[in-house]
């Protein structure tokens, strides 16, 4: 029983600790033989291992859709077939002509690009519709939020602002150069400090997050 736990919990934690400490050590005291040779190897490994995460995700996606086809879920299974056909088509083109091939690029540029950009664009339209219904100055803070939004639109984003009143540009840039700069720093400090502390807890094994989930 002990080896089972060591294999599933202690050894992976040890790997995380050793890899993390080596990389931090190489930054603090550069030139140490143990870390200066191992860090280039570790970053090489990370690049390769990261590459395998993508085929794994694609495989889970394909298995997921094969189940849908087998169960003939109404209203979804023929779309899944169409999707798998397109994946196969891209793989065939990729292996025969290579990813630089004319048809491969055109397939992507004229069949994937339009939908991807339109979907991102529609997020903006949802945000527009929601801002009409939700963005109300119920509290002084909400009023500050709306005024800042108007100022940045007219001063920095849309050229129409400087046509209505040329003063919008300098005013918006003043706030962006000093106040919004400091608030962006506040958000970076807040999320960075928490991320560093979470990272340290994970390295030291206090936050054995992926260990607690039993298999």
């Amino acid at each position: 029983m002990a080896t089972r736990i060591h294999l599933r919990r202690t050894l992976p934690l040890l790997i995380t600790l050793i890899a993390g400490v080596l990389i931090i050590l190489d930054f603090f005291v550069s030139g140490l033989p143990v870390s200066s040779q191992s860090v280039p190897i570790l970053s090489k490994w990370a690049t390769i291992i990261w590459g395998f995460a993508m085929p794994y995700s694609v495989l889970t996606l394909v298995i997921d859709h094969l189940k849908i086809i087998k169960k003939q879920t109404p209203g979804r299974w023929y779309y899944s077939i169409w999707m798998l056909v397109l994946i196969a088509l891209m793989l065939y083109q990729g292996f025969t002509e290579g990813t630089g091939g004319d048809l491969y690029t055109e397939l992507f540029t004229y069949m994937a690009a339009p939908v991807l950009s339109t979907v991102s664009g529609m997020l903006g339209l949802y945000a527009l519709a929601a801002s009409f219904r939700v963005w109300h100055a119920r509290t002084p803070e909400a009023l500050t939020m709306i005024i800042a939004g108007y100022l940045v639109v007219l001063g920095i984003i849309a050229p129409i602002g400087e046509i209505i009143w040329p003063g919008f540009g300098p005013l918006a840039n003043f706030f962006n150069d000093y106040v919004f700069k400091a608030e962006r720093t506040v958000f970076y400090i807040g999320t960075s400090v928490s991320a560093i502390l979470l990272g340290i807890r994970t390295l030291l094994g206090y936050e054995t997050y992926y260990m607690r989930v039993e298999d």
Binding site: G20, P114, G124, N176, S192
Partner: protein, 202 residues
């Protein structure tokens, strides 16, 4: 230029309108466009990943650095779920987590400290002087809002409540900034569609 180009350009216009039709409501035309992009994007994604692994590993193997084989084995362990030993996937994750956290822990404090130094400007007697004071003040007040172990009462409460105004102003400008990003993407796409429909060529 392949012989399929004119058909593909027509399909791209049809797909754009199909995606926009979702504004009116969920319909099969939209679902077809959605699964088209998932299929093509996933196929491209898989191809690029396979090329990247070859590109990164081949050179080292030819140059005799056989430690790369360990990385390839660790990568294959991702798929251990499919041959019944799901806990093996923890080894590639442990390696990536250790390396990722190590890089973040060692580099992030420097970014934080440089950002703080970036707020310290001399108080000259012009607009930038006022701005410098306003900047330092809004950083101090804003950061005091994101503290959790003390109730926001008394002096700290006052700092946090004023800081909240600065934070809400920042969030307002960021919301409009994000909306403008999505809209510029939509404008880019619609201008290509308009140019195609008016025959101005994409």
């Amino acid at each position: 230029m392949t012989q399929f180009l004119p058909y593909l350009q027509a399909i791209s216009a049809v797909l754009t309108i199909g995606t926009l039709s979702f504004l009116y409501g969920e319909n099969p035309y939209y679902r077809w466009a959605e699964y088209t992009v998932i299929g093509i994007a996933t196929g491209n994604w898989l191809m690029m990943a396979i090329n990247a692994i070859q590109n990164a590993a081949l050179g080292s193997l030819l140059a005799g650095e056989y430690h790369v084989i360990i990385a390839l084995i660790l990568g294959v362990l991702y798929f251990s779920r499919f041959w019944g030993m799901p806990w093996l996937y923890r080894y590639p994750i442990a390696t990536l987590t250790g390396i990722g956290l190590g890089l973040m822990i060692r580099g992030q404090p420097g970014v934080v400290i440089k950002n703080i130094v970036g707020v310290m400007w001399p108080m000259t007697a012009d607009v930038s002087g006022i701005g410098a004071v306003l900047g330092a003040l809004s950083l101090i007040l804003g950061l005091s809002y994101f503290t959790y172990t003390k109730e926001h009462k008394g002096f700290i409460g006052g700092m946090a409540k004023t800081g909240r105004y600065f934070i809400m102003a920042f969030i307002g400008q960021r919301f409009v900034g994000e909306v403008s990003v999505y809209i510029t993407v939509l404008i880019g796409r619609l201008s290509e569609l308009v140019n195609y429909l008016l025959g101005r060529g994409i």
